[in-house]
Amino acid sequence: MIKLRTTNLTKRFMGLVAVNNVSFSMEEGEILGIIGPNGAGKTTFINLISGIIMPSEGRIEYKGQDITWMPAHERARIGIARTYQLIHPLENLTLIENVMVGSIFARGHSLKEGRRRAENLCHELGLTDLERDTSRLTILEVKKMEIARALANEPEVLFLDEVMAGLNSDETKELIAMVQKIAREKNLAVGVVEHVMGVIRELTHRVIVLEAGELIAEGKYEEVSRNPRVIEAYLGGGAA
């Protein structure tokens, strides 16, 4: 079943076209890689889908419903969640309280029920000592907290914006396995932006490639990585 679909999605900032006419869809249970060189518009694309910015043109549908102009907090409530490339833990809240925010606002649970659900999520992700201040967490723990915070929305569509950045290879492996397990168990559609191609190869079922805001290729990682246009985009026109 198709969870999310964009049609001719476009975002212009003054003269710059950050996302240009992108049409794509995501199925439930699918892990989709979103790749492209720096500045290709990957984060802008996620910002459009999560409602942080509004598009210049085009349409976004979630489970058949038009959500193009829906405010971000409402998208969080109907089941779209994301993490951020630059992580902002809520500094005056503890680890567990950070995760609770999604439970109590996106889902509307009571404080007690929200805390219980947040605790379960933290346990699933292997987070312990939940009353800690967020400044005391390791990088891996911060990344897990960020994922737990998104999962607290109890989403059906989840976007992970460079969650593996800054992790060593063991930590990356652990997190890949975790994301796969969660996606399978909760039957999520997951969109993953990542620069490390090894992560994309291992984690994703399908890949879309953005360059200068345009969708230039789509398919399995093995096919896409052999596509001459993709190779050129990554190496740059001159070098190829």
Binding site: S50, H73, H88, P89, L90, N92, L93, L111
Partner: protein, 312 residues
């Protein structure tokens, strides 16, 4: 300190606060009333600050409440007891209407606009001569509430303070705490967790304005008089702000602590060096902000926790 000890101490303080008129003379009662009034304003200012919005509009909403109360009594024949909740509701309504516009602003733009609005209210009251009495103000012909009984007026302000403390605890213990803290930290990630930012800011602004309006009503009912330069005085903005900063922000006990300290010091300095007291308090505030940015409330925490706070 353990919890039981703190509870016993709090109960003792509460009993002493309620029973104060039984053993204190008029002067200490007057000082206590003043301190409690500013304390309640400081708490209400801090409540909105928890969302990251710095309001300089306390005096504006205090003044609106003051005029709503006194004009309700003088022009509409409202009973004095009713004028105080009326002041709260009126200030809340004004806050609700202007909130739609100004809560879209952030940081210093929000602060400056709240400051300007307070001034606009003052000028309006100043110029609506026939209705508000203009710059000379309005006097309640029937006299002060409770016939000027010092004990009853003291309890009236105490009741106002308790309302502010109760509201502040509600903000701390409910989901409002999570909403406001998330907004203060990062609005974008708050949105992504389903927080309707505008709605929570509006709630906080309306509730804190209602408290400020109510206190304006209490103030004017206990003096039987309102004039623009009195009830819109910058003191009602600056002193609560200084008290909250001194005691420590983002909590209920910070402003309480700061108000007691600054209130008593100010009173004592007023006697020692009239007019010079403002300089001393300015210096006190600067020292605290420079060396204890979390405020004096941090001194009450156990030493270990303090060290943790510093390294964080």
């Amino acid at each position: 300190m353990n919890r039981t000890l703190v509870r016993i101490l709090l109960i003792l303080i509460a009993v002493a606060a309620v029973a104060l008129p039984a053993f204190a003379g008029d002067y200490p009662l007057q000082v206590a009333r003043n301190i409690m009034l500013y304390m309640a304003l400081a708490i209400s200012w801090d409540m909105l600050l928890r969302s990251g919005q710095i309001s300089f509009g306390i005096a504006g909403l205090f003044g609106i409440g003051a005029y709503a109360a006194i004009l309700g009594v003088v022009r509409a024949g409202m009973p004095t007891w009713l004028s105080i909740p009326f002041a709260a509701v009126f200030a809340a309504l004004v806050a609700f209407l202007i909130g739609f516009v100004i809560l879209r602003l952030r940081a210093m733009y929000f602060s400056i606009v709240t400051l300007a609005l307070g001034e606009i209210f003052r000028i309006i009251v100043h110029n609506l001569h026939d209705f508000t009495g203009g710059p000379e103000g309005v006097v309640m012909q029937q006299g002060v509430m409770f016939g000027g009984n010092a004990s009853k007026l003291y309890w009236l302000v105490l009741a106002g303070l308790l309302v502010a403390i109760a509201a502040s605890y509600w903000f701390e213990k409910s989901r409002i705490h999570f909403a406001l803290t998330a907004i203060r930290n990062n609005e974008i990630s708050a949105k992504s967790s389903g927080v309707d930012i505008f709605r929570w800011l509006l709630l906080a602004f309306v509730v804190t304005s209602a408290i400020q309006g109510m206190l304006g009503g209490i103030f004017v009912m206990s003096y039987g008089f309102a004039a623009p330069d009195v009830v819109f005085s910058a003191d009602f903005t600056l002193l609560p702000l200084a008290m909250a900063l001194l005691g420590g922000v983002y909590s209920t006990r910070g402003p309480i602590f700061g108000a007691i300290l600054l209130g008593l010091v100010a009173e004592w300095l007023k006697l020692k060096i009239p007019y010079g007291h403002l300089v001393v308090y300015g210096i006190m505030i600067i020292i605290v902000i420079l060396f204890m940015p979390q405020g004096l409330k941090n001194l009450l925490k156990p030493a270990a926790k303090r060290a943790e706070g510093r390294s964080a």
